[in-house]
Symmetry: C2
Subunit: 111 residues, 2 copies
């Protein structure tokens, strides 16, 4: 997904930016990642953290994130089926990006 739909005549910087923002910008994507910064979470915990999201889309986004290597899914061998999602190293590094976005939003709302 990060590979497809590349604009053809803009530079590399622009390509890097475009592919990433089109992926991270899909509905709910950002906030799903955001909710995992504090540590691994179970499916229904993520749902509870994100009012308004549907289970269908949550599943779809989690698959996208797995495919891109930003999260890992772990099925725990505990009684009562337990599935956990955790950010990979790559995923965790997005925290910088997210903090910059929050800072920008706050600066904007103050002025």
């Amino acid at each position: 997904m990060l590979e497809s739909n590349k604009p053809k005549d803009c530079q590399n910087l622009c390509n890097d930016f475009h592919s990433t923002i089109e992926f991270l910008g899909k509905r709910w994507m950002g906030i799903i990642i955001y909710s995992l910064f504090k540590g691994p979470k179970r499916y229904h915990e993520i749902m509870e953290n994100i009012p308004g999201i549907s289970d269908r889309l949550l599943t779809e986004r989690l698959r996208d994130l797995e495919k891109e290597g930003l999260i890992v899914k772990r099925i725990l061998p505990t009684p009562k089926r337990k599935v956990e999602y955790e950010l990979t190293q790559s995923g965790k590094k997005l925290e910088d990006v997210f903090l910059t976005i929050v800072a920008w939003t706050q600066a904007k709302n103050e002025s």
Copy 2:
């Protein structure tokens, strides 16, 4: 737009992040802003910079950006109708965010 659809039980940081990413994450939004970092551009110049975008969506996004105060539209009094779009102070400050995204993408692609 930055105001609507707020999740109810996540903290302020999370609200700030959510509203902003849902706005910036709309299709083509990021790359339109990106293309204006180098300075004001005319409608068709933006189009030429962003292969794949349609004129309908470009117009729609430019209106959204105006409404949020991230760009200004300027109709120049030159012969041959000339319209220019320029980032506001708020808009220009997004460059930090964007550079962090590019840096993250490059780090990811290298590893």
